[in-house]
């Protein structure tokens, strides 16, 4: 099944790396939407249904934790798995992200294999 992924990171280079890692993981990406922060990502979700969200934490305007805090109120985000990809490696960030609904947590730097390990299982039949 084809996947529409939303990649949220303030670095356009990192967004491209994440996209490439998803393709290397074997995901059939029908569409990739990009956002530079949480607020932009909410705007994308206002108009588009996505299947997977990959999200950084440290971003200007709206960070990744605030973004996932607001996701339950977004109709197009209902049941959409979120995986954090971030340099923040503290246990408190991991616990906070998971308690807010994130399904996975990947620390930068990462390998494509790590992306595969975290993303494929949570997509279930969709991958």
């Amino acid at each position: 099944m084809s996947i529409h992924a939303l990649i949220v990171d303030d670095s356009s280079v990192m967004r491209k790396i994440v996209e490439r890692s998803l393709r290397q993981a074997g995901l059939d990406l029908s569409k990739v939407s990009e956002a530079g922060n949480g607020a932009e990502a909410l705007s994308v979700l206002a108009d588009h249904q996505v299947d997977l969200i990959l999200c950084d934490i440290n971003m200007p305007v709206m960070d990744g934790l605030e973004f996932i805090k607001q996701l339950p109120a977004v109709a197009n985000a209902k049941g959409v798995p979120v995986v954090m990809i971030t340099t923040e490696g503290s246990e408190s960030h991991v616990v906070q992200a998971l308690s807010l609904g994130a399904r996975g947590y990947i620390r930068k730097p990462f390998t494509p294999d790590q992306v595969k390990e975290h993303v494929i299982p949570i997509l279930g039949g969709k991958s």
């Binding site: 303030d10 670095s11 280079v13 490696g89 930068k108 730097p109």
Partner: protein, 161 residues
């Protein structure tokens, strides 16, 4: 390594922190750029005309910087984006900033207590070598010289507290 030893830790454990910084740098380049760095004793600072900087605040205050040549920064970008080096454009600053960000994050995650108590600023990238940097750093800084694809690179951590 635990920051509970206090701000004097960089002085008292200079070699340990240098070692952790070097491992942090190597990991970023191996995992994200598929590039193995080699150690270098000295670097001609005159050829380092691109600088990425990240501010650290909290339990550890200071600035981490990555300095290299434009050619090296372009090659890093090329490897990160998987594009030809001649096609690299303004995204070079973004790429070098992200390298600096990952080195800083990876370094603080290796020191117990620092991952929780130290925040990173967004990266800033300066192009050109005609500038001077004033720092309030009181502690001696950490500096690692490496060769990236035979091109020199200097990573510094200036510690203020």
């Amino acid at each position: 390594m635990n920051l509970a030893h206090g701000a004097q830790a960089p002085t008292a454990n200079h070699a340990v922190w240098i070692s952790l910084l070097e491992v942090s740098i190597r990991e970023v380049f191996e995992l994200m750029l598929s590039s193995e760095l080699t150690a270098s004793q000295n670097v001609d600072a005159g050829v380092l005309d691109v600088t990425a900087m990240i501010g650290l605040a909290g339990q550890l205050c200071g600035v981490l910087s990555v300095r290299c040549s434009r050619r090296a920064a372009a090659l890093m970008t090329s490897k990160m984006l998987n594009v030809d080096i001649d096609k690299v454009g303004p995204e070079m600053s973004d790429a070098l900033g992200e390298v600096c960000n990952m080195v800083a994050g990876n370094f603080k995650n290796k020191i117990s207590g620092l991952a929780e108590g130290c925040l990173l600023s967004p990266p800033t990238v300066i192009t050109g070598d005609d500038y001077s940097l004033h720092s309030q750093a009181e502690e001696p800084g950490l500096q690692v010289h490496m060769l990236f694809e035979n091109m020199p690179m200097t990573i510094s951590l200036q510690i203020q507290a």
